[in-house]
């Protein structure tokens, strides 16, 4: 199962990719992606969090991790029993024209491709195209109609790609009969992390999708920003929220504990 998408996703896309990968991995699916920034990394990470096996199909030689910042991720993939795969000889440096070929390989290795957030001319669409040529299933996760990152995915859906809301949709398309773990439309029974009292007031104000900064939350709660910032840090340490450059979102990662 390949999960691909934008190298610069929104917090929403990243969260979806991670959650989807985690749930699929838990169902025994091997998650394939391209070790790139953004959606690719989120997919690998999600699979790892769920203790699953994930395969990175690289556009460089297997001895060169690109981007270099992902060398730790690559090590974790190997440590978890996954693999780094490349069609290029050792020592091949990142070259623009190698990546479309890599995308093709990724499609060939998978039974289906899920696209999460792709702008108009995203490389992820090459993977989708390749999958169609190879008669593999192509699926896409819808996004906000305001976001340029939804253009590619919505286009795929319009052209007949299956719409993916959760891992259940993906498994159904794969013909798996397994009952699935997590339905994002159902209210979560609990957040999965035990939160000290007094902190949960903040969580309910946070979104999974839109980053809010401490000042905005403080304004909503009528609390001093220093206190809110401290509480957010505590939540971040517990893994309940995640911080981005422009603010905080609720972390979906604890689906792991929810299941």
């Amino acid at each position: 199962m390949a999960i691909v998408g934008s190298r610069r996703p929104s917090p929403y896309g990243e969260a979806v990719a991670e959650q989807l990968a985690a749930d699929l991995a838990r169902a025994g699916v091997i998650v394939i992606s391209g070790l790139a920034l953004g959606i690719d990394a989120a997919a690998h990470r999600g699979a790892l969090v769920a203790g699953g096996v994930t395969v990175a199909v690289m556009g460089t030689g297997v001895d060169i991790v690109y981007p270099a910042a992902h060398s730790r991720l690559a090590e974790e993939i190997l440590a978890a029993g996954g693999a780094l795969v490349s069609q290029f000889p050792d020592g091949t440096a990142p070259r623009r024209h190698n990546f479309p070929a890599r995308n093709w390989t990724m499609a060939a290795l998978s039974d289906a491709v899920v696209v999460v957030e792709a702008a108009e001319r995203s490389g992820a669409l090459i993977t989708a195209e390749a999958a169609l040529d190879l008669h593999k299933e192509v699926m896409a996760v819808p996004g906000s109609v305001f976001s340029p990152l939804s253009v590619g995915t919505h286009c795929l859906i319009r052209d007949g790609a299956a719409l993916v809301q959760n891992a259940r949709d993906v498994l159904a398309a794969l013909g798996a009969t397994q009952e699935v773990l997590d339905d994002p439309l159902a209210p979560p029974p609990s957040l999965g992390v035990s939160l000290p009292r007094g902190r949960d007031g903040i969580l309910s104000h946070l979104s999974d999708v839109l980053a809010l900064n401490a000042a905005e939350i403080a304004r909503k709660l009528q609390l001093p920003v220093s206190e809110v910032l401290g509480r957010l840090t505590a939540l971040e340490l517990d893994g309940a929220v995640r911080r981005h450059e422009d603010g905080y979102v609720r972390a979906l990662r604890n689906g792991q504990k929810r299941a």
Binding site: A215, G230, R231, A234
Partner: protein, 503 residues
């Protein structure tokens, strides 16, 4: 016939005494100047000869030798003109100068005494070396009189000085107007009351001001980063006496103190453009290095707008002063060290186009572009920054309404109180606490320690980052008037470490 007087030379902030000896002997009429004099000092011969003649004094028509001791020290500048002329006059008269007295000043051809740079630095240094009286150009008397325990004689003309020394007509000692009590400048160009929203940025600014921590503001263009930074001087307390003198010393070296009245108590705020050269920012120039922007910002604020646009080597050179509060510059003419204990406030866009992470406008940069842009702010530099805060654009409808935030005055009161606590406890600001003293003076409760350790582990903090977060927490506690660093203080401090958030 022999005469000698004391003078001094400046090597950066160091003062070296120079003895100027004059000997008049029988022989061919000639004027020798020896003792490793650079060109600017060799020229003194011509100035001194004319000045003596035009003052109505007699230039010795014999063999004249002037020696500048110690001979191994290279002499530069024009401040030795007056001491040379005085030594010659005393040699002729067979007189000795008063004890513990030094002379400085440049001579004009007509015998008047002209300004020289660095009088304040010299005066402080000479006082520490045990000098009690200093003859300075009249223009610089106010500057010299800032030093306690040093009698200042203002010199208008060479004739006046010689008459004074020979007991013909005394010069009135300079009486300073007294260093005014710390006057509160009161009005600042920018007040926090004008800032819309930005609660997080304001709070970070307050912490930076209270503990002397370095702050980086990151956000899209027009979000108000510059506005916030410019509010910082208005929430800082005025300089202490020692600090004011050190600030004035830097200005004195640069010749900027001339004609200024009493001490300036306002903290410096320097905002060099991002095109600034290494020499301009750090210090440099030909010969002995001159102080740069970082030394002009000593005890004040150095504001670097568009941090990522500065040349990389220039930013790298900031690392040493950020850590030690001093900068050492070596040139062929010698090595000097200047103070540079400033609070760094920097602003940067998140990406080249500036709009990454903005809620409305989308960013047009490639991931590689963003990566290389952010990589210009090297890890080691970011590691020396205590607080990194994201600044978001304020919604337009808010901009039209009256801002509701606190003004600078109450914030300043809290900052002053927090600084007082620090100085009473440890005699320095929290940002200067060494790890050993930090452990002693800012012990962590188990819960606080655990939070800090968990964060370090999760984010891979360096030892330096670990201690910086700890110091910020100490300041947050000081702002609250608390002796103990609570878990909430640590957690808040960690909340200002946006630099730890990996992509």
């Amino acid at each position: 016939m022999f005469g000698s007087v004391q003078s001094c030379l400046l090597v950066g902030f160091d003062v070296r005494t120079v003895e100027v000896q004059a000997d008049i002997a029988h022989g061919e009429v000639k004027f020798f100047l020896v003792g490793l004099a650079a060109t600017s000092v060799k020229e003194a011969r011509e100035r001194v000869r004319s000045a003596i003649k035009n003052s109505g004094l007699e230039f010795p028509g014999q063999r004249l030798t002037v020696n500048l001791a110690p001979a191994e020290l290279r002499k530069e500048g024009s401040a030795l003109d007056l001491p040379i002329a005085v030594a010659i006059a005393l040699a002729r008269a067979g007189k000795r100068p008063p004890p513990h007295t030094a002379f400085m000043g440049e001579l004009a051809l007509d015998g008047s005494v002209r300004h020289v740079d660095g009088i304040l630095v010299a005066a402080r240094g000479l006082r520490m070396l045990g000098f009690e009286r200093l003859f300075v150009p009249a223009a610089d008397a106010a500057e010299a009189s800032l030093v306690d325990g040093l009698a200042v004689t203002p010199c208008a003309t060479l004739k006046g000085v010689v008459d004074h020394l020979l007991g013909i007509a005394a010069i009135e000692p300079y009486v300073s107007g007294g260093s005014e009590a710390m006057s509160d400048p009161g009005l600042w160009e920018h007040d926090l009351a004008e800032v819309h929203g930005q609660e997080e940025g304001r709070r970070a600014l307050e912490i930076a001001a209270a503990g002397g921590h370095h702050l980086l503001l990151s956000g899209p263009p027009g979000a108000g980063k510059t506005m916030l930074a410019r509010c910082l001087p208005g929430i800082l307390p005025p300089l202490e006496l020692d600090e004011a003198l050190e600030v004035a010393q830097v200005r004195s070296l640069l010749g900027e103190l001339q004609g200024r009245g009493p001490l300036d108590w306002t903290r410096p705020f320097r905002a060099p453009h991002h095109g600034v050269s290494m020499a301009g920012l750090i210090g440099g120039g030909s010969g002995l290095a001159q102080p740069g922007e970082i030394s002009r910002a000593h005890h004040g604020v150095l504001f670097l707008d568009e941090l990522a646009e500065f040349q990389a080597p220039v930013l790298q050179a900031l690392r040493q002063p950020l850590e030690t509060g001093r900068v050492a510059i070596t040139r062929s003419a010698g090595s000097v060290s200047y103070p540079a204990r400033f609070t760094l406030v920097a602003a940067t866009n998140p990406c080249p186009c500036g709009w990454a992470g903005d809620s409305i406008r989308s960013c047009r940069c490639t991931p590689g572009g963003i990566d290389s842009y952010q990589r210009r702010l090297s890890g080691p530099l970011l590691d020396r920054i205590d607080l990194k805060v994201g600044v978001r654009r304020v919604k337009l409808e808010t901009l039209a309404s009256e801002p509701t935030g606190e003004g600078s005055a109450p914030v300043r009161a809290r900052v002053v109180a927090a600084r007082r606590r620090q100085l009473d406890r440890q005699d320095c600001l929290n940002c200067q606490l060494k790890p050993a003293r930090l452990r002693k003076l800012a012990g962590l409760e188990p819960a606080s320690r655990r939070a800090l350790e968990r964060w370090s582990e999760q984010k891979g903090l360096t030892a330096r980052g670990f201690h910086r977060a700890w110091r910020v927490a100490r300041t947050a506690a000081d702002l609250e008037g608390s002796d103990h660093i609570g878990e909430n203080h640590i957690l808040e401090a960690l909340g200002y470490r946006l630099q730890d958030i990996a992509a």
